[in-house]
């Protein structure tokens, strides 16, 4: 029996983020909060960010979901923390392209652990799991922009 294909989805680094999520918890003070859920499966996250001078100074999340959605949230917060908001949005669009299986040009961007999520593109039913946290980040920054 071959589960080889599954190993492209469930990479070790993903399972590590799932088991030991980075930046899980609550931020204090004047922060942005975004609740987002995936109504078809019940996954939900709350993303909290502190944005100062067009920069994501802090990012944390709480929530419940599968290994893909939670590891993606963990990696996303790890990646965007300290980033300029425009870079975070560019990263998010790169990530969307990656999920669609497109060739991506990551010049000047460090994908880091995120690269491990590349395999999700081959499992269309799971793409929404991976993009949940990123959508929350985008929505948060859009709300910040409007405010």
């Amino acid at each position: 029996m071959s589960l080889g294909n599954l190993d492209t989805l469930y990479r070790q680094v993903i399972m590590d983020h799932y088991k030991n999520p980075r930046n899980r918890g609550e931020l204090e003070g004047d922060i942005l909060k975004v609740d987002m859920n995936n109504p078809t499966c019940g996954d939900r996250i709350q993303l909290q960010m502190r944005v100062e001078d067009d920069q994501i100074a802090e990012a944390k999340f709480n929530g419940e979901g599968c290994s893909i959605s939670l590891s993606s949230a963990s990696m996303m917060t790890q990646t965007v923390k300290g980033m300029k908001t425009e870079d975070a949005l560019r990263m998010s669009s790169l990530f969307s392209d990656m999920m669609l299986g497109k060739e991506i040009d990551a010049a000047g961007m460090d994908l880091g652990d995120i690269e491990a999520l590349q395999g999700v593109a081959k499992f269309p039913a799971r793409i929404k799991c991976a993009t949940l946290a990123w959508k929350a980040m985008e929505q948060g920054l859009a709300e910040e922009e409007e405010a």
Binding site: M1, L6, Y10, Q12, C41, G42, I68
Partner: protein, 408 residues
């Protein structure tokens, strides 16, 4: 009776490989597969006599009308309704319950009145009542569940009061597999002057249903879960109630006379069927009923109970697997594996060709009651075999081992 393996061969879709493995389809509670004779009936309608109904003059028109109304008669017989006037063709269970809430509910529920449901209901039998309660200032009440996910008649009797105007309960739970005592609940509802609606989406496909014996005022179900096409469903309603109900959709097909400022409605059941109906769907549903009757509903029910018991037996021997629902159940097994999210579980099973459902199953209040965010569900139908269960169980074992390793 035919063996499950023989029945399986009647379903063209089941004869395929998914991800390199023979398909094991265990998601019939979401939607059932269709036998060749249903696909053929729909095909035949479109190829040979597609035409609008109730316009009588030309030949194809009367063939289509005969097919559509013939299907209504098959439905009537299938659920033992006393008259075809009591069989309304709609899009599905959701539309049927919404019709009752927006028509009967609107006219019969007032401020301070009660609507009684249960925590195990599908969203389609919760939200229409929430909306009605909000619009009318009525109170939505829940009959509490027993620890195993069943309902006790004692709780039914203490929840329904003289203020209760509508009681709405599912016949079989799409998550727990619980078979609810709808006949007894109907008696209690009627003793308090309340109308009773039964959501039959998970019962009509799998067991003999006699609406007159149950006594409910309304009984709703969907064609696609009983080997029929999507887009066709049925509302059964007692004639004396349907008669006094206002339609909720207005337009063609449902009118008697139309003047500049006023109109009158057709008689039952057509006054509720505004617009060109789902003709092909109804004809397909009729063919599905022929198919199910040919096999026998008692045999189907017994077969599914046997498969569920067989699956439960093996799952209970596995460490770290939790099964939800009562001992006595329909062919539905909802479960979770420790440390593996049901979504991840379903992906691994899919890689093995096994289709199960993962998520909240359109029953978020029930997930809350179970204190889980999501579950996985295997549901069985007449075409599933013991080998399907074996494959499912061994894939479940593989999935547990797989995640045991990657978590290692």
């Amino acid at each position: 009776m035919l063996t499950a393996a023989e029945i399986r061969r009647e379903f063209p879709i089941l004869d395929q490989e998914v991800n390199g493995h023979p398909l094991v389809y265990l998601d019939s509670a979401a939607t059932s597969q269709k036998p060749a004779q249903v696909i053929e009936a729909v095909n035949d309608y479109y190829r040979r006599y597609n035409s609008n109904v109730h316009r009588g003059v030309h030949t194809l028109g009367s063939l289509a009308t005969d097919g559509y109304e013939g299907a209504r008669e098959k439905v009537r017989r299938f659920i033992h309704a006393s008259s075809m006037e009591e069989i309304v063709f709609l899009r599905g269970t959701t539309t049927a319950i919404n019709l009752v809430a927006s028509s009967y509910g609107r006219d019969n529920v007032g401020e301070g009145d009660e609507i009684v449901i249960t925590p195990m209901e599908h969203h389609s039998n919760i939200i229409p009542w929430q909306q009605l309660a909000k619009a009318k200032g009525a109170v939505l009440k829940y009959i509490p569940l027993q620890e195993d996910g069943s309902i006790s008649m004692e709780d039914v009797r203490s929840t329904i009061t003289n203020k209760t105007k509508i009681v709405a309960v599912m016949h079989v739970s799409n998550v727990l597999g619980t078979v609810n005592p709808v006949k007894e609940i109907t008696e209690t509802a009627h003793a308090h002057g309340a109308a009773m609606l039964v959501d039959g989406a998970q019962s009509v496909p799998h067991m003999k249903v006699d609406v007159q014996d149950i006594g409910a005022d309304f009984y709703a179900f969907s064609g696609h879960k009983m080997c029929g096409p999507t887009g066709i469903g049925v509302l059964y309603g007692k004639k004396k109630l349907l008669k006094n109900m206002e339609p909720v959709e207005f337009g063609g097909e449902m009118i008697d006379f139309v003047d500049w400022y006023d109109a009158t409605w057709k008689e039952l059941p057509w006054k509720f069927e505004g617009g060109t109906p789902v003709i092909a769907g109804a004809i397909g549903l009729g063919a599905a009923i022929d198919f199910l009757e040919g096999i026998g509903l008692d045999a189907i029910e017994a077969h599914e109970e046997k498969l569920a018991a067989y699956a439960l037996d093996q799952m209970r021997q596995m460490d770290g697997v939790t099964v939800y629902g009562p001992e006595k159940r329909a062919g539905i097994v909802t479960f979770n594996a420790d440390d593996v999210h049901p979504h991840d579980l379903a992906t691994v099973l899919d890689a093995e060709g096994v289709a199960v459902r993962a998520g909240h199953h359109c029953a978020q209040p029930l997930m809350k009651w179970l204190d889980v965010t999501a579950t996985a569900r295997a549901s069985f139908y007449l075409y599933n075999t013991e080998e399907d269960v074996d494959t499912f169980v061994s894939s479940l074992r593989t999935a547990k081992e797989y995640f045991g390793d990657v978590f290692g």
